[in-house]
């Protein structure tokens, strides 16, 4: 049995002595799971994420990554296990060219130059960045700057990927493409922790959901179970995605109220109406 990818045990953190950002959060994320972390702004999502790669250290509590307590490990060492995508691409872009930007992390992790070259070319191709390879990333549009940061994370292919609102500011097509790439890594066994406000994305892609509210873990579970509880979600000022809301509107008609996708909704709805026709 593989060690869990991420284990938090009663982690607390304060940026300011009076305001706890994270309060005794405990959770275990098995290796290979696609986890969505949801909650309002200020609920502690980014704080929790930064605790998993050592950018922040808990005031109290313990963090284990792939079975290792990371308290004594420098960020550079944790980076071998955990890749991190910042919410704002400009917080991580700094190299003079896109190619250099992609090479930076790989060099830091000690890859050989032939391997670095191979991975850069692969990441450039995967994200349609070949035409921009020798341009300064800071001069590209927002959508492309976002793609550059995602490509540099992909080049590293760390066992655990943490992404803080990666699809914000991307159009629908670009967002789907990014999520499809993530799905491929997930297939290969990578663990994904994704912070998002997009409930539709959570419903369609995530296997497990952590709901944070005022620095506490309000609840956790598979998306179906989480979205079937609109009252609990509204405590965290969240609401289920449209398909699930529609299914909940039709509960009196016999729908379970936990559909996550168009296909599921249709199947359940039709099964109900066919049964009804058979009865009458």
């Amino acid at each position: 049995m593989a060690e869990p990818a991420i284990e938090l045990y009663r982690c607390s953190y304060r940026y300011n002595p009076d305001i706890p950002a994270l309060r005794e959060v405990s959770c275990t994320i098995p290796t290979g799971t696609w986890v969505a972390l949801i909650g309002q702004n200020g609920s502690g999502k980014t704080t929790l994420a930064k605790m998993c790669n050592g950018l922040l250290r808990p005031d109290e509590g313990r963090v284990r990554i792939l079975g290792q307590d990371i308290a004594g490990q420098p960020v550079s060492q944790i980076a071998h296990s955990v890749g991190y995508l910042f919410q704002n691409p400009d917080h991580q872009i700094f190299a003079p060219t896109v190619r250099e930007e992609l090479a930076f992390g790989l060099r830091n992790l000690g890859f050989l130059s032939a391997e670095i070259e191979r991975r850069i070319e692969e990441a450039l191709a995967l994200f349609g960045l070949e035409p921009y390879a020798d341009r300064p990333p800071a001069m590209l549009g927002y959508g492309l700057r976002r793609q550059v940061t995602v490509a540099s994370l992909f080049a590293l292919r760390p066992p655990i990927l943490i992404l803080d609102e990666p699809t914000t500011g991307l159009g629908w097509g670009a967002a789907q493409a990014l999520l499809d790439r993530l799905a491929e890594l997930h297939q290969e066994g990578h663990t994904i922790l994704l912070i998002t406000h997009d409930m539709r994305l959570v419903a369609e892609r995530a296997e497990w959901v952590l709901v944070l509210h005022e620095g506490r873990l309000l609840t956790e579970g598979p998306p179906r179970q989480i979205f079937a509880q609109p009252k609990m979600l509204s405590r965290a000022s969240l609401s289920p995605p449209p398909i699930t809301r529609l299914a909940q509107r039709l509960r009196s008609f016999g729908m379970r109220g936990d559909s996550l996708t168009v296909e599921e909704f249709y199947r359940e709805y039709r099964a109900l109406t066919l049964k009804e026709r058979a009865c009458s």
Partner: protein, 287 residues
């Protein structure tokens, strides 16, 4: 009725970044109009020129940016190139994605008073405008707070109130909810709904949130490759599923569900909202 905004065959290229380089064309023949009291949602992929189009409405383009500008933009029948940017800013109010970029005063009241004060209006009038703008945005209780300590949704409503206090004829909202969390989004959309009920302001609303578009917009236009590719009522525009998909744009979730039904059965569903779908699906088999 004459449109309050009319854009005719607009071409615009930013000045080149390096001397001697080619200008960078963004708008390549845009024609679009906006009537008083109308809310027009503007969709388009990243880089289509949505924000550029917004900046032509209040004259920032070309007055402050230069560049190559052909065709015309008329606001209340005046050519924006012949209007003073100060005067234009009273007629056209702009709110951006990130509210922090437009707030700079110590209190919400000062923030909202700033515009009317700069117009040198009488104090009674300023007071009345502040009251009204705060009320419309549902933030009267925040009047004496610092904008810095407010949530994202509250900040965005302060930015909107500050614009409303100028009583513009046209409101341009460039992805006003994109940087907000779900509760913030809801509060700003609710404020927009209030605004539509209380005023006849024309609204150009740039957004990616297609599930919300049918709830607020009278009309939808799609900008792509520097041109208006689709323009019509939400039901018409979202009826062009394949065109939207080719542009990398999302369909409202309920329209996707309708298409899924239609492809499998001989139904002709055209839902855009959860309400519409619930109504059809509940009635269809409930009785």
């Amino acid at each position: 009725m004459k449109p309050i905004v009319s854009i005719e065959n607009l071409y615009y290229a930013y000045p080149p970044l390096k001397v001697g380089a080619e200008p960078i064309p963004v708008l390549k023949g845009v024609s679009l109009s906006l009537a008083q009291g109308e809310c027009l949602a503007l969709l388009g992929p990243t880089g289509a020129g949505k924000s550029t189009l917004c900046l032509t409405l209040n004259g920032i383009i070309p007055h402050l940016t230069g560049g190559t500008f052909r065709g015309e933009v008329r606001v209340a029948e005046h050519d924006t190139r012949e209007m003073d940017p100060g005067e234009l800013s009273q007629r056209v109010g702009l709110v951006f994605q990130d509210p922090k970029s437009q707030l700079f005063n110590m209190t919400v009241e000062d923030e909202v008073a700033f515009g009317p004060e700069s117009l040198a209006l009488p104090p009674g009038e300023i007071e009345a405008r502040i009251d009204e703008a705060l009320k419309t945005m549902g933030i009267s209780d925040l009047r004496h707070r610092s904008p810095l300590e407010l949530s994202g949704g509250q900040k965005q409503r302060v930015a909107l109130a500050a614009i409303l206090a100028m009583r513009p004829e046209v409101l341009v909202l460039d992805e006003p909810t994109a940087s907000l969390d779900p509760a913030g989004k809801r509060s700003v959309l609710e404020a927009m709904r209030h605004l539509r009920e209380r005023t006849q302001m024309a609204i150009l609303w740039v957004t990616q949130d297609v599930d919300k578009v049918p709830l607020l917009a009278d009309r939808v236009a799609v900008l792509g490759q520097g041109k208006i590719l689709l323009n019509g009522k939400p039901a018409e525009v979202f009826g062009q599923a394949e065109k939207l998909r080719d542009l990398g744009l999302a369909l409202p979730r309920m329209r996707q569900l309708a298409i899924y039904f239609n492809e499998r059965e001989e139904s002709g569903y055209t839902w855009l909202t959860v309400e519409e779908a619930a109504c059809d699906l509940g009635e269809d088999t409930g009785g």
